[in-house]
């Protein structure tokens, strides 16, 4: 993820070079151009890809709606009526609602704080002049290359010193602001917010923080929405660190799911019902706001 905004600059360059070499001829439709619509093969292929993306989820629901013996009786073709019973079993064997609540809290808090702090820093890097800003930004980008996973042992030691192991703080605090977020917002605000606007507000006597609040934040809204969505999803699906630092009695959803497998290894209908249950909330978010995420990924890659 962290690399997205860097990519297309180079692609853009190559493309521009190519355009310079070959450009300037007559207009005719090419792939993706304004011209002819693609035919059956394209839609057929994309339909197959879509089915492939959906199938594992559907399969999960299919098995999750039968009882434990279903697979030994052959491949199920239509959903059975056992999903609610399996769901009840899931809730009996793991603290499902607590895990759902935890995931909701962690993801929401993280999303808001990443957006706020990243926009704040992005505003400073993009629009304010201060000594060393260039190098500090380079440093921020460089930190993206440091795999945070590798610091888990000391991070765990730090967290247990603070007495935070087992609590949600241990998951939330390291994620409060990300290098990717800072970089992403810097890139966006640089283009989206005219300098004149800040000057105007400043001339009117607004302090820096007011300028940020009244001009910076509103201008950054589209990028902030994408960042919030992405952070929410990434936090929701995160496993390694919560798995290490959280107590099994107070898990997030992925941690709880993994516990479910340990308890119900043979009863796959229950395990997969749990997988479905844990995916539904995020799927809803995606259906409602996924357009934003998709256009964000696309935009991030095109912008330099």
């Amino acid at each position: 993820m962290s690399s997205i905004p860097l990519i297309a600059q180079t692609a853009g360059k190559g493309a521009a070079k190519a355009a310079a070499r070959k450009g300037g001829r007559r207009r005719r439709p090419g792939p993706g151009g304004t011209g002819r619509r693609p035919g059956f093969i394209t839609y057929g292929f994309l339909g197959a890809v879509l089915l492939g993306s959906l199938f594992p989820l559907y399969w999960s629901f299919l098995v999750g709606s039968h009882d434990s013996t279903v697979l030994s009786r052959g491949i199920p073709l239509i959903p059975g009526g056992n999903f609610l019973a399996n769901a009840a079993e899931v809730m009996d064997s793991i603290p499902f609602w607590q895990a759902l609540g935890n995931s909701l809290v962690v993801s929401t808090v993280t999303a808001f704080s990443v957006v706020f702090f990243s926009t704040l820093a992005g505003f400073a890097f993009a629009k304010l002049k201060f000594r060393g800003s260039k190098w500090l930004l380079v440093f921020v980008i460089a930190t993206m290359a440091v795999p945070t996973q590798l610091g888990v042992v000391p991070l765990f030691i730090v967290m247990s010193r603070f007495g935070w192991t087992g609590s949600l703080w241990a998951v939330i605090i390291p994620a409060l602001v990300t290098a990717f977020g800072v970089f992403w917002m810097t890139q966006y605000i640089r283009e989206a917010l005219p300098d004149e606007l800040i000057e105007a507000v400043r001339v009117d006597g607004a302090s820096m923080i007011r300028a940020f609040w009244h001009v910076g934040l509103p201008a950054a809204r589209p990028a902030a929405a994408m960042l919030a969505l992405f952070t929410f999803m990434a936090t929701w699906t995160n496993f390694f660190w919560p798995f290490i630092v959280l107590d099994p009695s107070n898990p997030t959803l992925p941690v709880a799911l993994q516990l479910l497998q340990a308890a119900h290894f043979v009863d796959y209908s229950v395990v997969l019902a749990g997988a479905v249950l844990s995916t539904i909330p995020l799927l809803l978010v995606f259906v409602i706001a996924g357009r934003q995420l998709v256009s964000g990924i696309m935009q991030g890659a095109v912008k330099g």
């Binding site: 690399s3 070959k22 304010l128 795999p147 605090i173 602001v177 800072v182 302090s207 890659a301």
Partner: protein, 327 residues
């Protein structure tokens, strides 16, 4: 606000006595000066503070822990120098994990990049309901890796798994996905590919849309078919993007943990550690055997491997980029 004020009140109201006014202006000036000078640092400080505590410090501290005897419960023990490193490096489990990590990484990143390129090329057409298709390919991204692991663990079940049922239906033997090393790597790589192909597709698609359309037009005039256009135009022009996707998936792929961890219920990577990866090995040493010193040593070794690959990638990238320029 103030602009309209000025417009409304052409004659300024009674002013305070000269001396007080000057002092106040001076003070507010200074305040504003401080504001300009220091608030940028204030705004960027949350990131740097947090990174110092949760990123930079742990990285250095890992090195410190790795040269000590260090127990999860007992804490810091005596200084041991590089003993943890030599111990780990002499362990067959370590090298097994290195091999598994690279095998899974290669099996996942190569087909993934190829598939993403092809799907992106199809998405790059003048489609009806563009957003629908784009969102469609991204759906796997909302499934948590743990859930993906559980689902595919079932699909690749040795006994009643769907994949083996299909293989048997087609007249092949069922494959022992959970005991054969290579087979388990294929299964785990499939999970990674499932989740990330769509995401990479969108990155490629964005880069493709930055290619000017008249390049294709002239190619079409020269008589190049769609396939020829894809291989001779699209792919070469996307080279930088391809390399970037490869680099990021390298960094992610070398740290893989979630999917192999839930591929069976024990989480050690199979009865013979057929699919234990380096990150799983760190977990086993640190939280299974409670030996933080050795876990940290492996963490540093993994970090070195990643840096090494990144540098290698960088030089290959430069090389290819230069060739692209010379062409």
């Amino acid at each position: 606000m103030a602009i309209t004020d000025r417009g409304l009140k052409p004659a300024p109201p009674r002013r305070p006595p000269e001396s007080r006014r000057v002092r106040r202006i001076a003070f507010s000036h200074r305040l504003s000066h401080w504001d300009v000078k220091f608030s940028p640092y204030l705004y960027i400080s949350p990131f740097f503070l947090l990174f110092a505590i949760t990123g930079l410090f742990p990285l250095g501290y890992t090195a410190w822990v790795s040269i000590h005897n260090w127990n999860l419960i007992g804490g810091q023990g005596e200084f041991t120098g590089l003993e943890n490193y030599s111990f780990v490096l002499s362990q067959p489990f370590f090298w097994n994990a290195v091999g598994n990590t690279f095998s899974i990484f290669l099996l996942s990143s190569v087909p993934q990049v190829v598939a993403a390129l092809v799907i992106a090329a199809f998405l790059d057409a003048n489609l009806r309901a563009k957003t629908f298709w784009r969102m469609g390919v991204l759906i796997p991204f909302v499934v948590a890796p743990v859930a993906v692991g559980l689902i595919f663990n079932n699909l690749f079940a040795d006994q009643f798994g769907l994949v083996n049922e299909i293989l048997r239906f087609l007249g092949f033997e069922g494959i022992r996905w959970h005991s054969d090393a290579t087979a388990s790597h294929v299964a785990i790589a499939t999970m990674v590919n499932f989740r990330w192909t769509g995401y990479n597709t969108l990155i490629f698609l964005a880069a493709m849309q930055a290619i000017p359309r008249d390049v294709y037009e002239s190619a079409a005039i020269d008589g190049a078919g769609r396939l020829r256009q894809f291989f001779s135009l699209t792919v070469p022009m996307l080279r930088p993007t391809v390399i970037f996707v490869v680099i990021t998936s390298t960094i992610g792929g070398l740290q893989i943990f979630d999917e192999p961890r839930v591929f069976d219920q024990y989480g050690l990577g199979g009865s013979d550690r057929q699919w234990q990866t380096l990150t799983m090995y760190i977990w086993e040493l640190g939280w299974g055997q409670r030996n933080f010193g050795r876990a940290s040593a492996v963490a540093w070794l993994l970090f070195l491997i990643i840096v090494l690959i990144a540098v290698l990638n960088f030089f290959i990238t430069r090389r290819i980029a230069n060739q692209g320029g010379a062409k």
